[in-house]
Amino acid sequence: MEIKLLSEHYDKPEYRSLEGYKKHDGYRVLAKALKMDPKAIVEEVKASGLRGRGGAGFPTGVKWGFLPDNGEPRYLLCNADEGEPGTFKDRLMMERAPHQLIEGMIISAFAIGSKKSYIYIRGEYDDSIRIVREALKEAYSAGFLGQNILGSGFDHDMDVYVGAGAYICGEETGMISSLEGKKGQPKLKPPFPAVKGYLGKPTIVNNVETLAAVIPVVDKGAQAYRQHGTEKSAGTKLFSVSGNVVKPGTYEVALGYPLMDLINNECGGLKPGRKLKAVIPGGSSAPVLTAEECAQANMDYESLAQLGSMLGSGAVIVIDDSNCMVDLLGVIMHFYHHESCGQCTPCREGTGWLNKIVHSVLSGQGRLQDIDLIVRVSEHMMGRTICALSDAAALPAISFVKKFRDEFEFYVREGRSKVKGAAHVEM
C-alpha cells in the first residue's frame, strides 16, 4: 500500500509552481523550522532514523553531526545527479515538486548553518534543470531565499549547477570535484567532505529525496516519521520500478514493504504468461535477486543486505523469463566501463576487462574459463578503489555469474542465448 508522505500531490500540475505548492501547505514547515533551534532540527532528524536515499543509506542526522565546529563557512550540496540505471525518482520529484526540494534544502541548510547551497543536477535532465531554475527564481522573489528569510535573520543562497553527464559525479567527492570546476573524479578519503569538501570547506552532500524527507520529519516530528518503515529503516521511500511489469513507475511505500507486493499490487504484476526470473532491487549496481530470493525480500536496507543485495537508490528492475542474463550483464558492464573515471587502476582496467570478457562471450568467442575469470576479476576489483564504482561493477557481475551460471555456460558452449528469442544487443 502506498504511503504518500512526499508524493501526495505529485499528480497535480499546479504543485510545480509556488502558488500551487503554497496552496497545499507549502513552505509552512519552513516557517516552523526557522523558529526552531537548528540543533534541535539536527537532533530531530537523528531521532527520526532518516537514512540517505541516494544509495549508501548512511544516517542523515549522523552525517550532519560530523561537521566540525570551527566557524568555517559550510556548504550544502543537493545530489540530483541521478545516474544509476533504473532510477528516476529524483527527476520526478524535481519536475513535480521543485519547491518541496527547495524547502527541504532551506530547512537542512538552516539546521547545519550553511549560507550557500548548490543543487547539482544531472546534465541530461533538461526539464528538471529548467523547472528547478524557475522555482528558484520564484522562491527568491517570494523571499524564501536570499537575505533574512521570513524575518528570521537567516540568510541563504541557492544555485543550480548542471553536471556534464558523468555517472561518477553522483559520488559525493566526484560531485565536489566537478563543482569546483575540476575533472569529475572522486577524491581520496580521508579527509571526508563533512570536514574538507567543496573548496576545502565542510560540506554536506544529500540526495534530493533525503532533503525533501526532512520536511515531514520536522513537520510531524521524529516519532511520527518512525511509525512508517521498520526499526532500522524508518520512513517511506520512493521506488522507481522498471522492467517487465505492467505499470512501471515511481511508488512511495514504507520501507520494509515486501518486494513481491510492490511488484504484484502496485505495479500490476508481470505481463500475462511471463514468469519472474530475477529482480535487481537497488539500481544496476546492486546484486541481482533470483525469483526465489524475491519472495523473501522486503524493501528495506537490512532485509536486502541479508540476501546479499542492497536497497541502493531504490531502483527496482524486474526481469522476466524473456530476458537473457548474459546479454543484460553485457549492457551493465558496458555502462560501467563507459563510466569509470579512470583514476584507480583496478576499476579503470577491471571494468574494461569485464566488458571485454562478457562481450567476447556474447560474440560467441567466449571460453569456459572466462566465466570464472569474470568472478575472479570482479572479486579483485572490490574494495580496492577510492570510490565504490568498481564495487558497483563487480557486485552485479559476480551475482549474475553465480546465480545464472547455466545461462553463461550455455552461451559459451552454443554461442547463443539459452533464452529463445532474446534479442542480442550489439554494443
Binding site: G342, S360, G383
Partner: protein, 519 residues
C-alpha cells in the same frame, strides 16, 4: 614519536608519517607507483595495500597515517594476492614493447612485476590502442599506451613547476595524459617528469634511443650548472657521459633539478673537449701534450717575471673550479711566482642574483662562494677594472686564465678574450676549445683541463654549504686539473702516485699467465 609494528618489526616514526614512509624507513619492500615522496598523495595505483590490525578492509599505505600502536603488515597472502592482481590490472593494457622502450632496465613495471607479479596472465582480450610517439614539447615524448596513469607527471607540473601543462584527458581505460592545444610541455623543469615516470611513457628527447640503461654506470656528483649545486647522478660508459639526473638531497634540491643542469654532460664528452694542448698563435699552432705545454708556458712565465717583475703576470679565475683547485692555484701564483694580481671573472653580473623560486639561480657558477672565500683568505680584493686599466697601460705581459668549463653560460667570453688581445702571452686553461682563442694574434697556450666529473673536490653553493664529490669517470685522461696546471706553471713537478702497491701484490693472479706456463 609513534610506535608501530611493521611486518613484525618494532619501530618508531615521527608524527605525521604515512605508512608507506614508515615502510621505506624500515627498509621493507612495498609495491607502489603513484606515490612519490616529493609529490602529493594521489592514491590511484592501489598497490601499496597493507593490512592494519583491527581494520576489516585493506588500506592504502600512502594515504593512511601511522597511529600509535598500529600493527601493519603486507606479507600476508591476502595482501600479496591483491598486489599480484593490482599489477596484472596495470599490465592488461600495457603494450609490453620493452624491446623498443627506453625505460627497459629501470622500469617500475619490470622491477615490481619481477618482485610481486602474478606470472600467470589471464588477459585474452584485445588491448586498448592509444597514441604513440606523441610530441609533448621540446624535451619530452609521450607514449600513451605505456602510461599507467599514475599521474605523477601531472602532479609535478601542478605542484612543483606550477606550470600546469599536463592533464589526464578522457576517462576510464581511454584516459590519456596530454597537453592542451598550443600549450606544450615547455618549462625549465620538464625533464623531471621523465625521471618520475615509473614506466616508459615519458621519454627524454635528448636521451631517447641513445643508450640502453644497463650499459651505463652511475657516479655521484654535483651539478656545475649554477650556484644551487644540485646533487646529481651522472650516467656514463666508456664513450663518455650520457645523461645527468637528480639525486635526492632535502637540503639542496629535493628530488628535482632543472633541464639546463641536465645539459652539463654535453661539454664533458670528447667531442666537445680540447684533447691536446695548443701552443702558438693564429694559423700557427703546434700540438703538445698538456703537461709539456704547461711546463713550456711556465718557462715563459718565469722569463717574463725575470724581465718585467712579478706584477707583469696576472691570474684570472672563474667560479667553475673546486675550492681545492682554486686554493692551490692562488697559493702557487702568489707564493711561488710572487704576483698578487688575481682577478675574479664574473660572467653575468646583472643577472647574478636572480632566482626563479624553485632551483635555478642567475649565478651560473657552481663555486662562486668558494672562489670568494679563497680570495678573501688569500687577501685578494682586486676589481676587474683594475685588470682592464693595467692591460690598457701595457703593464701586464702575461695572463693566466682559468677559463670557464661551461662556456655557454659565459656570454662575455669573446669580449674578455678580445680584452686580452693586446697581452703578449696568454695561458688559457680550458676544458673546451673556442674559435676566438684559435684566432688570437699573439702567443697563446691553450691547455686542456679536466671537467667536474673527472676530478675530486668540493663546491660551496649559494647557501654556503660545502658539497664534496669524487672522481666519477675520466674522459680525457691526459688533461690536467687546475691544481696540476698551476703546479706545472710555477715550475714544480707533479707528485706521481705509484698506485696502491699492496693491492698490486695481493691482486688475483691470472691462472693462465702466472701459474700454468706455456703449453
Amino acid at each position: 614519536m609513534l610506535k608501530c609494528k611493521i611486518n613484525g618489526k618494532e619501530m618508531e616514526v615521527p608524527q605525521g608519517t604515512s605508512i608507506i614512509e614508515a615502510f621505506k624507513l624500515s627498509g621493507q619492500d612495498i609495491a607502489h607507483y603513484c606515490w612519490h615522496p616529493g609529490l602529493s598523495v594521489a592514491g590511484v595505483c592501489r598497490l601499496c595495500m597493507v593490512e592494519i590490525e583491527g581494520q576489516p578492509k585493506l588500506q592504502i599505505a600512502c594515504n593512511t597515517m601511522v597511529q600509535d600502536g598500529m600493527v601493519i603488515n603486507n606479507n600476508s597472502e591476502t595482501v600479496k594476492d591483491v598486489v599480484r592482481w593490482g599489477l596484472d590490472f596495470h599490465l592488461i593494457n600495457h603494450p609490453l614493447d620493452c624491446p623498443i622502450c627506453d625505460q627497459a632496465g629501470e622500469c617500475g613495471l619490470q622491477d615490481q612485476y619481477m618482485q610481486f607479479g602474478k606470472y600467470d596472465p589471464e588477459m585474452a582480450e584485445r588491448k586498448v590502442k592509444k597514441r604513440k610517439v606523441v610530441d609533448l614539447g621540446p624535451t619530452v615524448v609521450l607514449d600513451s599506451e605505456r602510461c599507467i596513469l599514475c599521474s605523477r607527471c601531472v602532479r609535478f607540473t601542478d605542484e612543483v613547476s606550477k606550470t600546469h601543462e599536463l592533464g589526464i584527458f578522457n576517462r576510464g581505460d581511454r584516459s590519456e595524459i596530454g597537453t592542451f592545444k598550443d600549450r606544450p610541455l615547455d618549462n625549465k623543469y620538464s625533464l623531471n617528469t621523465v625521471d618520475i615516470c615509473p614506466v616508459g611513457a615519458l621519454t627524454s628527447k635528448d636521451f631517447r634511443f641513445r643508450q640502453r640503461v644497463w650499459y651505463l654506470k652511475t657516479a655521484e656528483s654535483i651539478c656545475p650548472g649554477c650556484s644551487t649545486g644540485c646533487n646529481v647522478n651522472v650516467y656514463y660508459n666508456e664513450e663518455g657521459l650520457w645523461r645527468v639526473r637528480p639525486r635526492h638531497n632535502p637540503e639542496v634540491n629535493g628530488h628535482w633539478m632543472c633541464d639546463e643542469g641536465r645539459d652539463t654532460y654535453k661539454y664533458v664528452n670528447r667531442k666537445a673537449r680540447l684533447l691536446e694542448a695548443k701552443m702558438g698563435h693564429r694559423d700557427n699552432w703546434t700540438l703538445e701534450s698538456p703537461g709539456a705545454a704547461a711546463k713550456a708556458a711556465g718557462q715563459k712565465l718565469r722569463e717574463v717575471i725575470e724581465a718585467h717583475g712579478p706584477e707583469s703576470v696576472a691570474l684570472v679565475l672563474t667560479g667553475q673550479y673546486t675550492t681545492e683547485e682554486l686554493e692551490t692555484a692562488v697559493q702557487k701564483f702568489k707564493g711561488d711566482l710572487g704576483s698578487s694580481l688575481v682577478y675574479h671573472w664574473v660572467n653575468n653580473p646583472e643577472s647574478f642574483e636572480d632566482f626563479d623560486g624553485i632551483l635555478l639561480r642567475g649565478d651560473k657558477n657552481p663555486n662562486t662562494k668558494g672562489l670568494l672565500k679563497i680570495l678573501e683568505q688569500e687577501g685578494v680584493s682586486l676589481t676587474w677594472k683594475d685588470l682592464e686599466s693595467r692591460v690598457q697601460q701595457g703593464q701586464i705581459k702575461t695572463v693566466v686564465v682559468a677559463g670557464p668549463e661551461n662556456q655557454s653560460v659565459f656570454p662575455d667570453f669573446v669580449e674578455k678574450v678580445n680584452l686580452l688581445a693586446g697581452v703578449e702571452n696568454v695561458v688559457w686553461l680550458t676544458a673546451c676549445p673556442h674559435s676566438v682563442l684559435d684566432s688570437r694574434e699573439k702567443a697563446t697556450w691553450q691547455i686542456p683541463l679536466k671537467t667536474y666529473i673527472e676530478k675530486a673536490g668540493s663546491f660551496i653553493n649559494h647557501q654556503g654549504k660545502t658539497q664534496s664529490f669524487e672522481v666519477g669517470t675520466v674522459i680525457v685522461s691526459s688533461a690536467l686539473t687546475l691544481a696540476e696546471a698551476a703546479t706545472l706553471l710555477v715550475g714544480q713537478e707533479l707528485e706521481v702516485s705509484s698506485g696502491d702497491r699492496l693491492a698490486e701484490l695481493t691482486r688475483k693472479k691470472n691462472f693462465f699467465t702466472e701459474t700454468r706456463g706455456a703449453l
